[in-house]
Structures are given as C-alpha cells and as structure tokens.
C-alpha cells in the first residue's frame, strides 16, 4: 500500500473547456469537479470522458431499459455483467450477449466486424463459459451500390475470419438491405457459451491485497477514443476516424480464451473481466465498483507495444485480446505458468485496495485518483425529450394500393424469392465455419440454428431477429413483433423460448423523435417479453446511427435462446414427403403495411405494420410445441416477410418437393399470398395425425386449417401461382451469388 498524502500529478494549464473536445458537457464537468473535490487533470478527464461516453455508460438509455423484465426461474445472471446467464438444468448454464460494432464497420468493414466478434467472444469467456455458437445481424444499403457491396464483402469476411479462426461455429444470422443503412451499416454480433453453474466467474474485484493481472496482448495506441467515436454521428470526417478502429488478432484471442478457461476451470481466479470499449479505464472501474473495493494500477507495469505512450493513452487504449483478472497473490506463479504455456502474457499491474479509489500510478508517482464507483456508475443520466415524429401520421394514413388488379402473381412470387431481402443467404453463411465443435444439429438457413449439448439429451436453438421497417412505421408494434417473431422461429425448431439478449440500434437520442422511437420500442419489447415469459439477461445500446443527420430506421435486434429438452424434437422447415398435409396454424389478415410486397412492387414503405395479438401468439407457440412433442409435425416454418406464399415456397425449395395450396376465399389473392400477418406457422404432417393436431389447436384456441398437400415437382397456389420447384430454387439461390460476383 502506498503512503497517504501523496501529490497527484497535475500538469495543469489545460486549455479552457478541453473537456468539450473530449465529449463531456458542462454539467458533466461540474459533476466531475464535485466528485473529485478539485479540478481533474488530463488523465482523469480522459478516463471520465471515455467511461461516461454514451457507448460505455448508457446514460441516455438506462432509465428506459429498467422496464425490461430481467427475472425468471432460469436466470442466474441478469444485465450488468459481461454477459447474462440462464440455467438449462444438469448443472449447466448458458451465457449470452449481443453487441454492436456499427461505426467501426462503416469505416473499416473487415476489422470493424472482426473486432466486434472478438469483443463479444471475450464477454462470454469472461464469465467462465466456453463459447459454443456465434450469430450475427447485419443491415446494409441497397446492393446496387458498389460501396455497399464492398461493405458487405468486408463485414462477412471479417466475421468469418475471426470466428472461424477462434473455432466457434456461426450457426445463424440475418441480413437485410434498406436505403437508410447505406452509409451506416449495422453489425451486431452475438455469442453464446456453455458453463457449469459452479464455475461461473464474475467481474467484481474482491480481497484486499489481491493482485490485478492483465492477460493477453500488449497495449498499443489502437482504438484511442473508440468509445467516443461510437457515441457520435457519422459524417465526412468519419473516414479520418479509421485509426479509431482496432485491429483484430483472432489467433491471440484463441490462446487468451483457452488460457482463461483453464485458469477458471482450475479455480485460480477470483474475478475476470474483458477489456472492451474504454479499455483499462472501463474494466478496472467496473471491477472495483462491483466489488465495492478500490484498485491501484501501476502503468509502468503494463506491457506496451507503442513507444512513449502517455498515461492517458495506456488507460483508454482499446487494444484487443486483453483480459483483466483478480487473483490471490499465491496463485500468481501458477497463473503465469498457464499463460506461458499458451504463449501469452500475464502481467501483474496492480492490486485490490480497500479505499474504493481507482488509483493510477507510475511507479511511485500518483497520476490519478478517482472514486471507482463514481466513475463506473454515477454518470449523470440524461433526461431526454420525447416527441412523436410527424412522419407517422402521413405513413399511417397513406392510401395503400387496392391490390385488386395485380397481374401475373407467379412472376411476382419469383421476384420476391429473388429479392435481396428474401433470397437464400448461403453466400453469407458459407463463409462461416458452422460445424466446429461437432454440436451443430441445425445449420443456418432454417428458422433458427441449433446446437446439441453433449452429455445430455438437450439442445439449444438460437435466433437473431429484427425488422427495422416495422419499427419505423410503429416502434411499439415493431418492438413487439421483433420479440414475437424471434420466439416463433425458435418454436418452429421445437424449442421453448427461455431467454433474450438485445442490441438496440437507433439514431441520435438527443433528437426527441428518435428518443421517442427508442422509448416506444422498449415498451413494445418489454410487453412482448412479459406476455411470452421471456426474461432479458443482457443487452447493448447503439445510438448515433446517423449519417449526415439522416437516422437509420429504429432497429432493435433480438437475440433469443430456446431450450429443446429432447433433441429428437428438433424440427426443420422443409417438406418431407408426398401426400403430407400442409396446415396453417394461425390466421391471415389484411396486413400489407410495411410488407416486402409493397416495397418491391409499389416502392412503398407505408401503412401500419402487422397487428399482433400477443395472447394469440403465445397460444400458437404452445400449440406448435405440443404438436412437435407429440411427434405430429413433419415440418414447421414461420410465416413472416413475404407472407404465406414465400414461407410455403421455402418449405418446397428446401425439401425439393412441390405442393398444392388453396387460397382463402375471404381475402384478395394478393393479400392471402403476401400479407405479413403475425402468429402464423406453416406445418406439414401425415393425414392420420390431423385429428390430433386439430384437438390440440382447439384446446389452445388456435385456428388450425388444412391449406394443401405436399407433392409433385411444382408449387400451385390457388389459380394464380404455378411454378416449378426448380425455377423457384434457382432464383432464390442465385441472387446474392450473382450480385456479389460483380
């Protein structure tokens, strides 16, 4: 312990209001002065500025996020740790989290996406969990622009380059193309890990005198002020921010991961935390604040890779592949041995103190003293104004086309299947290792990815989902739909939805209209979570997704986990056999607002998004799950973008089988085929099982309607669609391949 009464190094004469250049407001600066009881020096100011950035502190979103239900009988760890954790029985649990890396990917797509994946993987093994699956959610502008293709190409390569190398299967994802994401693409990466409940480790530092150990890469000048960059809108100067983007080293990550998992398994660590945005500053202040202790960091002991690095650079560097651990002093030697064996560094850089102060020293010289709790948790929360955007009324009352006289619906169907938003994503996921770890029993390309849990009969399905268009038209309804649809996708796989993580991508929250979108979306998502009984265990918020003042659509991404108690229940979307009945669970309504059909053939994004009855949604899930568990369903596939027609077509294409389907008389043909009504699942089953399914449907008050039969080599729907499976498959499979070949 250091002697009391040391002088803090104050290289003052700071330019007035320099805090503004660092992104702090006048009020925040006043708070800092009052917390410290004096003027901060430059190092302290830098630490506050990154830790109190929107990206790290959630100062604009914290209040709204409190609305999420975060408790449930399976929840072991809710939001606030590196990742959330829920139990799956057998003494096992799943850690899961999702995070955005939008701005870095906009200026350097490969490294931006790669380091996004790297960061989320560290969040998972920081809990002591071995990563078992990656997923990702991507948004780009229209593919006819070369820059967009460059971004897509780089992002996908970056995600694959990182997760393939670390050896984690990428089992699912989604990608959509829309004008609003042209200059501000979204890259949301999700990782899930498996952990024994008795080896879960957390980040709170404990034990006065315990050592603080920095594990992994040396610290360089990369990513200085990355968190601040992420908390700003993109503009013409953004390209100059490329040095704010870090460079990923997946090989080192793999070694750091194996070393950390070994250290945790052998019980050598007290706590563990990943270094992400705002580097040492953020991780150390969180560890100290959560443990109710102080930490002292001697920067002279931090292994560096840059010459002459300033203290503030060391404290806020976002160099990748680093972890911070607390361990008892007598374990340090063993820890160093383990790390040596894996060929990575482990440097003791400080210790746990009892005074609650985060103290930065350079050998004997004190450079900064900040109450850790204040730095980590006492950012002034912002009270932001909300205002319902004026555009909504216009869009809601926009006269939608009658769709009475649509011609050649077969041709329309082919164009829908070929549209970038609905076509096969094989071009993307073929670039990801989907199989490593020999657990993937549900590959990408279906409603959700599935991994089995070795040594049990269980499997887990994971889905990542969001629809910015619906949220733009009505953020409350769109938020509800995002949750409901992710859950429905899991149900189609035979999984009971059990937990959720989310990544909330929005524009600049200082604009009242944007903040209104955010609050409304939260409200919708929370309500859906409550009704469907799905707790939120972790999450991430990404604001300032704007380019030259134009915001993206409000785009909440939902990452959801579903438990399959018996992996034999795992169900797939493709039709299996000639003669099987095609049955629709749920009902089709006039829900053309925000549909892919209106966008594609009428160039229209308007109207109300599909209506959602959450109680019906829940009953449809129960009905479908009961039928799957009874062994009745041969296939199950969610009806969503593109409507019933596209859902049935996909079941045909994937199964290599045709079908004859009737169209409900009460609707216009176009509506019956392409309406995007929620709470619908297309299933197929043997004729002799129909009575049983109808009985289940009656009990759950879910409409069960036979709409056709599997068979032949073509899909016929009513009198208007006649297409061979081969021609549908060709356009569906070729789109991305041929666009990306240019």
């Amino acid at each position: 312990m250091r002697k009391a009464g040391r002088m803090i190094l104050m290289p003052e004469n700071l330019p007035p209001k320099i805090y503004q250049d660092l992104g702090l407001t006048d009020y925040e600066y006043e708070r800092i002065v009052s917390i410290l009881g004096r003027q901060p020096n430059y190092l302290e100011l830098s630490m506050f500025s990154v830790r109190w950035s929107e990206h790290c502190s959630y100062k604009s979103s914290q209040k709204a996020l409190r609305d999420f239900p975060t408790e449930g009988k399976r929840v072991i760890q809710g939001p606030g740790e590196n990742a959330g954790i829920f139990s799956i029985g057998n003494g096992l649990a799943i850690a899961m989290k999702i995070e955005s890396h939008n701005h870095p990917s906009a200026v350097e797509p490969y490294q931006g996406a790669a380091t996004g994946v790297g960061g989320i993987i560290r969040d998972i093994f920081a809990m002591g969990a071995r990563p078992i699956a990656n997923l990702n959610s991507l948004r780009f502008g229209p593919l006819d622009r070369p820059k967009v293709r460059y971004l897509l190409e780089g992002v996908v390569a970056g995600i694959g380059g990182y997760s393939n190398c670390v050896g984690i299967p990428t089992i699912g994802g989604e990608v959509y193309f829309e004008d609003c994401y042209e200059a501000n693409p979204l890259v949301n990466a999700m990782c899930v890990g498996l952990v024994k409940t008795d080896t879960i480790i957390k980040s709170g530092a404990r034990g006065i005198g315990n050592k603080l150990i920095l594990i992994g890469s040396a610290t360089g000048r990369d990513g200085i002020h990355g968190a601040t960059f992420a908390s700003d809108e993109l503009d013409e100067s953004s390209e100059e921010r490329r040095p704010s983007v870090q460079v990923g080293d997946p090989f080192t990550e793999k070694l750091v991961m194996e070393a950390c998992l070994e250290l945790v398994e052998r019980g050598l660590l007290v706590s563990l935390q990943d270094l992400g945005a705002a580097g040492l500053t953020s991780s150390s202040s969180e560890m100290a604040a959560k443990g109710g202790v102080g930490l002292e960091i001697d920067i002279s002991r931090v292994p560096l890779r840059g010459e002459g690095m300033q203290p503030f650079e060391i404290m806020i560097s976002e160099s990748q592949e680093r972890m911070l651990a607390v361990a008892e002093p007598d374990k340090v030697e063993e820890i160093t041995k383990v790390c040596d064996r894996w060929g990575i560094r482990a440097a003791v850089i400080g210790q746990v103190t009892e005074d609650g102060i985060l103290r930065v020293v350079n050998e004997s010289q004190t450079l900064a003293e900040i109450p850790a709790r204040a730095l980590s948790q006492e950012v002034p929360l912002r009270n932001l104004e909300v205002r319902r955007p004026a555009y909504l009324d216009n869009l809601h009352h926009y006269p939608l086309p009658s769709l009475e006289s649509e011609k050649d619906l077969s041709q329309h169907m082919l164009e829908l299947l070929a549209s970038p938003n609905l076509c096969s994503r094989q071009w993307v996921y073929r670039q990801y290792d989907q199989l490593v770890e020999t657990n993937t029993i549900g590959l990408p390309g279906a409603d959700a990815g599935v991994v089995r849990i070795k040594g049990t009969h269980k499997a887990l399905a994971f889905k990542i989902d969001g629809n910015g268009r619906y949220c733009y038209l009505d953020p409350f309804a769109g938020g509800q739909i995002a949750v409901a649809e992710a859950a429905r996708n899991l149900v189609c796989r035979g999984a009971q939805p059990v937990a959720m993580t989310d990544c909330l991508n929005f524009g600049n929250p200082e604009k009242p209209e944007i903040y209104w979108q955010f609050v409304e979306c939260m409200r919708g998502m929370s309500q859906a979570c409550r009704v469907l009984g799905i707790p939120v265990v972790s999450g991430n918020v990404s604001f300032y997704n704007e380019n030259f003042g134009e915001p993206i659509y409000p785009t909440p991404t939902v990452g959801m986990a579903g438990l399959i108690e018996d992996m034999r229940w795992c169900t797939t979307p493709e039709f299996k056999d000639e003669g099987d009945l095609v049955v629709l669970l749920g009902e089709t309504h006039q829900d053309m607002g925000g549909s892919e059909y209106l966008k594609l053939f009428h160039d229209l994004i308007a109207g109300q998004p599909p209506a959602l009855d959450l109680d019906l949604e829940k009953r449809v899930h129960l009905c479908c799950l009961e039928a799957i568990r009874a062994g009745l369903l041969r296939s199950a596939h969610d009806c969503s973008e593109g409507g019933l027609a596209v859902a049935v077509a996909e079941s045909c294409i994937l199964g290599g089988l045709g079908a004859t389907v009737n169209i409900q008389e009460e609707h216009k043909q176009t509506v019956a085929l392409f309406s995007e009504s929620q709470s619908r699942i297309v299933v197929s089953l043997k004729e002799e099982d129909l009575l049983h399914l109808e009985e289940i449907g009656r009990r759950h008050k879910v409409p069960v309607k036979v709409i056709g039969m599997v068979g032949g080599d073509r899909l016929t729907m009513g009198k208007v669609i006649h297409l061979t499976v081969t021609e549908m498959k060709k356009v569906w499979e070729d789109t991305l391949e041929s666009i990306m070949r240019i």
């Binding site: 393939n164 670039q431 490593v436």
Partner: protein, 256 residues
Amino acid sequence: MSKVRFGVIVFPGSNCDRDCYYVLKDLLQVKVDYIWHQEEKPKGFDCLILPGGFSYGDYLRCGAIARFSPVMEFVQDFAEQGGLVLGICNGFQILLECGLLPGAMLRNQGLKFVCQFIYVRVDNNQIPFTGAAQPGQVLQLPVKHNEGNYYVEEETLKEMKRRGQIVLRYSTKEGVVTREANPNGALDNIAGICNERKNVFGLMPHPENSSEPILGSQDGLLIFKSMLQYMEDGEFRYGGGEEFRYEEGREDDLDA
C-alpha cells in the same frame, strides 16, 4: 477396448483437436490423448492426428510455422517408421509444408472461405485410411477452409496417380468427378492424398465433423474406423498389398 492409442496433436490455434478427440473417445471408445506441440518425444502412440484449425493463426502461410513446432520432428520419425499419420485440413497443410506429402495448397479459386457439405469419391481403398470403404464409394463430408486448392506439378501428379496416392476426389453424389463438384479449384478435384508408403494421409474435408447421423452425415467415421481396423489387424503392412491402378478413364468426367 481396443489397444490402439491415438494421439491428437495440439498446435497453438488448432481448433478441431477437441472434435477429433471426441469422435475417437466418445463415439469409437478408443484410447486417445492430446499431444502438446512442444512435446519432443511423446511415447506409446500408434496413430497420430494433426487436426484442423488455424495453427499460429495461419498468419505466414497455412502450416508454415507449425512445421517448426518441436513435436514435428517426432511426427517425421514416426512416419518414417511407418506409423499412421492423418492430417485433416490445417493438419494436411502442415504435412505439405513439412514435406511428408507432396504438393502445396493455394487459395480457394473463389477467394473465399468455404464451409459446406460436399461429396468425395474414394479412388483408393487400399490404404490404411480408407480400407473400410468400397472401391469408388462416395462419402458426404464437410469442407471448411480458405486454402484447399491443391496443386502439384504435372510430373509428380503422374507418379502419384500411378502409385495410387490420389485417395479422395470431389465428386457428385453419384460419384462423377465434375468441375461443379469441386469447391475450391483443386487440381484434378483432389481432396485427399497419401504418401508413397501409404502411411501418411492428408485430406481437406473434415471426417470428425461428420461422424454422427445427427450432424447430417456419419460418413467421416469410415476414415477413423479404417485406421482402427488396419491397426487391429496386426502388424503394420507398410506399402503392402497390390499396387493400385489409377483409373484414367474417369478423367473425362472433368470435361463433361
């Protein structure tokens, strides 16, 4: 339980080591242990596996750094003494780099990582790694790699064909070797080759990721079972048996 003991070599960055271990231990109930890349004289192993992954991050060139790992001298000696050495994907690349197998890997023709199930035809079932296969049997296995575009100069290829060193070739489900069936542009659709002595075998597809029906295919098991059968049959039969004749006629399919 079989007396045969497998060793799975772990290089920094290997990531299919656990998968190979799982297949041998849990599915085939065979003795298996990891061998750390720094071990110079591991003892008591009957078969070695160099697993897939990204040894040393593939940073210089796939397998180029791993070949200098301390354990590699042992692998060379082991192979020279006739021990069975299986290299999968990155392991195959390491075997090429260290010269235990001829040829080199180029980047995939499409310049992208490719992960998908493909078919390979067994063109030589007279070696310890494919002995359980029927002649010309087609296996469904996954590939997942960036550099699987096999290349070797013409003269060597001729020799390899004559000696039956071309073991697996990308084909259609029906066993026809076509350009469309080739996921990476590999010369002559070559997916797996062995050395002259037939005791070192490298392949790009991943048999360990396709050894259970629930994973979509269990054809990969055939490779491990063949090795096991061969070892259990008794003494090593290095280069024994009759010489394999390469079926030149099938070449035509490539131009079809």
